[in-house]
């Protein structure tokens, strides 16, 4: 290239008249501010101009990158008596006073907001369930059967919709628990009646859908449980919000774990209180016998399962739900199996439990043990910082 261009001018930087001289960088024409008398310490003036960059920088290279983005090249750096931008940036980084820098408090993490869609959706199962129960009371025979079936379907769909968004939505849908939950709820509805019938030699007929008769339908617990979707969602939301606040204000993981435990237990207790109140209302309204122990333990179990699932812990809930459901199923199966010749001993433990605690003892013990296990598990997992972090990742 050079041979043919020997006669060419070399207009690189410095030769062209007036294009490159001492005033080039500091005076940019009439717009320039009069504070460019850089005097003895030009770097200081430069640092003042880029003070945000210097204070923010975590290492010299960040200043170098920032300076280059502001148009400072190696050639400009030579006017500050530096070989290149890197050494200029190093001087600037070294000269920034960092001691007095009052670190601004970290911006609080964005907390989840209560949104109209999930608030309305959580109301839906309770309302539909109440409507279904009313329909059961008003109808007879064939039409009662139709009302029961359509009511069950509507409540299931509403529950699915209510739990698919909001604070109770699962992060991981790979472990469906629908079958186990349906069994537990179904037991709450029919199980006590079946157990009593089985213990006394029945059942002789299918349930008629009425609250009286040989195989009664206990609708009050189910009504209370579906209504409790609202307090469950609110408690989970409250827990999420408070945990986020604690998260942004805590300095150590252990500190967060300590402060998150009361939050978790508080939310859990709050839910149980709400469920108890709803159950009281439901039993009074429907005029059914009170079923506090089994309903409260079942509610606690379902709430904890949902809470864990929504934070990404799916393994333990599936295990524990399976255990509780199979415990109930075993009790029923044992009673029926005892009717076989020579197997009467199978019913002995179940019968003993029923004799001491009534029919409620079976579901209470099954769900209570399960809920207690999950509560212990939750106090370990849900108090971890990483459990509450997944929500802020896009």
């Amino acid at each position: 290239m050079s041979s043919g261009l020997g006669g060419l001018d070399r207009p690189g930087a410095p030769t062209s008249p007036g294009t490159w001289d001492e005033r080039s960088e500091p005076t940019t024409g009439p717009r320039s501010t009069p504070t460019r008398r850089t005097g003895a310490d030009p770097v200081k003036a430069l640092m003042h101009r880029h003070r945000d960059l210097c204070e923010r920088a975590v290492d010299p290279l960040e200043i170098a990158a920032g300076l280059e983005a502001h148009g400072i090249s190696d050639r400009t750096a030579s006017r500050f008596l530096h070989r290149d931008v890197f050494s200029l940036a190093e001087e600037m980084y070294a000269r920034v006073s960092r001691g007095a820098e009052a670190a601004p408090g970290p911006a609080p993490l964005a907390t989840p907001r209560a949104r109209a869609d999930w608030i309305l959706l959580t109301l839906l199962p309770g309302v539909l369930c109440a409507a279904a129960v009313t329909a059961l009371h008003l109808t007879h025979g064939q039409s009662r059967l139709i009302a029961a079936a359509s009511g069950a379907l509507a409540v299931t769909l509403a529950l699915r919709a209510a739990l698919s968004r909001g604070p109770l939505a699962p992060t991981d849908r790979r472990h469906p628990t629908t079958a186990r939950v349906s069994w537990l709820v179904g037991y709450a509805l029919l199980g006590d009646g079946l157990l009593r019938a089985a213990a006394t030699g029945g059942p002789d007929a299918l349930p008629t859908g009425a609250a009286e008769g040989p195989w009664p339908l206990t609708t009050a617990p189910v009504l209370a449980l579906t209504l409790s979707c609202v307090p469950a969602a609110w408690c989970a939301h409250l827990l999420a919000v408070r945990a986020r606040r604690k998260l942004s204000s805590s300095r150590a993981l252990a500190e967060f774990a300590t402060s998150a435990k009361p939050l978790l237990l508080g939310a859990f207790t709050l839910y149980l209180c709400a469920l108890a109140a709803l159950l009281a209302i439901a039993t009074t309204a429907l005029d059914q016998p009170s079923t506090y122990p089994q309903t409260l333990t079942l509610g606690a179990l379902l709430f904890l399962c949902r809470l864990l699932t929504s934070h990404g812990f799916t393994h333990a809930p599936v295990l524990v739900l399976t255990a509780a459901a199979s415990a109930e199923a075993t009790a029923l199966a044992a009673l029926f199996a005892a009717r076989l010749p020579g197997c009467a001993w199978l019913a002995t433990p179940v019968q003993a439990l029923i004799d001491t605690g009534g029919q409620a003892a079976i579901p209470t013990i099954a769900c209570g043990t399960a809920a207690l296990t999950l509560l212990l598990h939750a106090t370990r997992t849900l108090t971890r910082a990483s459990a509450h972090a997944t929500q802020n990742q896009p």
Binding site: A13, S24, E25, T28, V58, L61, A65, A69, S386
Partner: protein, 577 residues
């Protein structure tokens, strides 16, 4: 000889919306005598949905992996593996908490002791990284572990340890979680299944088309299978990271800067050769610890043919017009250009300025509006006589309009091409102007001086007066313009064409393969070593070896019993085109 190249791209080549897709496509098409395996990391779902560009036959396989969605792999570690993970992860974050690789090394003239310490830390980082990679390969995944509480706890311990960075010591719980999440993202390539003998182990060399996530598979292939790594960086990833650093606390930023710095240093140290795209990238790489002997600057290649007609006949232009071509955005400093043009008009009142380009994004559109308003304010409309309709001397146009149908016409329309940017990487517009044989005035940013050599005028950035004086000097001297334009075109044709780029990479591939060949052990059907499986003729052009010879990397991972991997056989391209 035939070289099998594993081209690793992140959010790039085979995807239609990839970053460096054009360059990679030209490279792959230009080197038909070699064989390419493409390993692509996609950046988002949209990119995957848009599909691939048509691939030439020398691409024998494409493997892709999403970087954006690493779902939990469900791998549950046993107690011993958990302990191993915690140990490696703790080492990794401890190396990060000890500070970046770049703070103490390089040309700063720090005493030897601290350089030793820095080298130790770099070693520690590398060992921990490879340890995690081995663990991921043994156990089948790392994602779940990287998201676990154990990782956050290890991070906390490292931050609180004596000797940690001051900023790291101030890390709060949200910072720890943010850093752990970033680490999980950055280390996702560790969980890929590419490092087997039928994957990256079977190529002769890995070519990472950018630093960062794309270089990580290359590093691991080097570690597991001894495949040499060629790293091409047109823009230094570390610098991009600094400029795009998210709004976060100082603790997060310093740890992430340390991560990217360490990763860059490790990549530079392990790479067989590094090809920066320009001198600016080269200086950054040297600064981050790249060995000068490994650096080969390879300028990006551009297609010169559209500009041939314009470049051969430079006289056709309007002698009084300046032209600016590019994407309109604040970094281009068009405001400064308009102020300079005001000065030019004082000297040469007949001059016109054509600004050709489309705004990029919402910010660019707002900037364009601002520039239009400023132009209208600075320059009143002018008419030739009292009966004609006036026109503004500054015109904003877009390519594709009736006056400027092609990019070459944009350059053809002006006598002098102006570049007024304050920030610039490799100035593509300037090279296009050089191809078109225009005299140029540009600001001294990025790689401008290096690109222009002596064939155009260079002024400091943000200096409208100097820009104006240079423009006036050229406008008044058509002969100088012609000389400069011809010299610029000659220079561009020599340095910045696609052909030189492809030829340079061809030479580099051969150099790497000749210096650091991957030694493979050929096996026969029974799995015994096969003598003379790779005859001397294998090194002459063409394919001489038997296609079914079975090869494995010596010193590589233990091969699965009974099924040695075919190294030279061509697997069908995976996935649909």
């Amino acid at each position: 000889m035939l070289v099998r190249i594993g081209l690793i791209a992140e959010g790039g080549y085979p995807y239609v919306s990839g970053d460096a897709r054009l360059w990679c496509d030209r490279l792959v098409r230009g080197l038909g005598q070699h064989e390419f395996d493409i390993y692509a990391l996609s950046r988002n779902e949209r990119q995957e949905d848009e599909g691939w560009v048509p691939l030439p036959p020398q691409v024998s396989r494409v493997r892709t992996a999403p970087l954006w969605a690493a779902e939990d792999d469900g791998v549950v570690y046993g107690r011993r593996v958990r302990r191993r993970f915690a140990e490696y992860y703790g080492e990794l974050v401890a190396a990060l908490c000890a500070g970046g690789a770049t703070g103490a090394s390089g040309a700063s003239g720090v005493a030897g002791a601290s350089e030793d310490a820095s080298a130790t830390e770099a070693d520690r980082f590398g060992n921990a990284l490879y340890g995690l990679a081995e663990l991921a390969r043994d156990e089948g995944g790392l994602v779940g572990a990287l998201r676990s509480e154990a990782a956050v706890r290890a991070l906390e311990r490292a931050c609180r340890a004596p000797g940690a960075l001051r900023t790291a010591r101030e890390a709060r719980v949200p910072d720890l979680l943010a850093v752990a999440a970033h680490l999980e993202r950055a280390l996702r390539p560790l969980s890929l299944d590419w490092y087997e003998d039928d994957g990256l182990g079977s190529v002769d060399l890995c070519h990472a088309t950018s630093g960062g996530a794309a270089a990580l598979p290359g590093l691991l292939a080097h570690h597991f299978c001894g495949v040499p790594l060629l790293l091409t960086e047109y823009g230094v990833r570390l610098r991009t990271h600094y400029l795009a650093a998210p709004e976060a606390s100082a603790a997060v930023r310093s740890l992430l800067a340390a991560l990217h710095g360490r990763l860059a240093a490790e990549t530079y140290a392990r790479a067989a050769l590094i090809t920066p795209g320009n001198g600016h990238a080269r200086r950054w790489q040297e600064r981050c610890g790249a060995d000068r002997a490994k650096l080969r600057t390879v300028y990006p290649g551009m297609d010169a043919s559209p500009f041939a007609e314009v470049g051969e006949a430079p006289e056709g232009s309007d002698p009084d017009s300046l032209v600016w071509v590019g994407r309109i955005e604040p970094a281009k400093d068009i405001v400064s250009l308009l102020h300079a043009f005001a000065e030019v008009r004082k000297e040469e009142p007949k001059t016109r300025l054509r600004i050709v380009g489309a705004p990029s994004g919402a910010e660019g559109a707002a900037y364009l509006g601002h520039c239009r308003a400023l132009a209208a304010q600075l320059f009143p409309d002018e008419a030739e006589g009292p009966h004609t309709v006036g026109d503004n001397p500054v015109s904003f146009e877009e390519i594709g309009g009736p006056e400027i149908p092609t990019l070459a016409d944009a350059y053809a329309s002006g006598a002098v091409a102006v570049l007024s940017s304050v920030v610039e990487g490799f100035p593509i517009g300037l090279v296009e102007a050089m191809f078109s044989g225009r005299a140029t005035v540009s600001t001294d940013v990025g790689a401008v001086v290096e690109v222009i050599g002596g064939t155009g005028l260079v002024v400091p950035p943000r200096n409208p007066r100097a820009l104006a004086e240079a423009c006036v000097a050229l406008l008044r001297d058509p002969e100088r313009r012609a000389r400069l334009g011809a010299a610029a075109r000659a220079r561009a044709l020599e340095l910045f064409t696609v052909e030189q780029n492809v030829a340079a990479f061809h030479g580099i591939y051969l150099e790497i393969v000749s210096r650091t060949p991957v030694r493979r052990l050929a096996l026969d059907e029974a799995g015994d070593p096969l003598p003379f499986a790779v005859p001397a003729e294998a090194h002459v052009p063409g394919r001489w070896t038997e296609r079914t010879a079975r090869l494995v990397a010596r010193g590589g991972p233990a091969r699965p019993p009974g099924a040695p991997v075919r190294a030279t056989a061509l697997p069908a391209a995976e996935g649909a085109l």
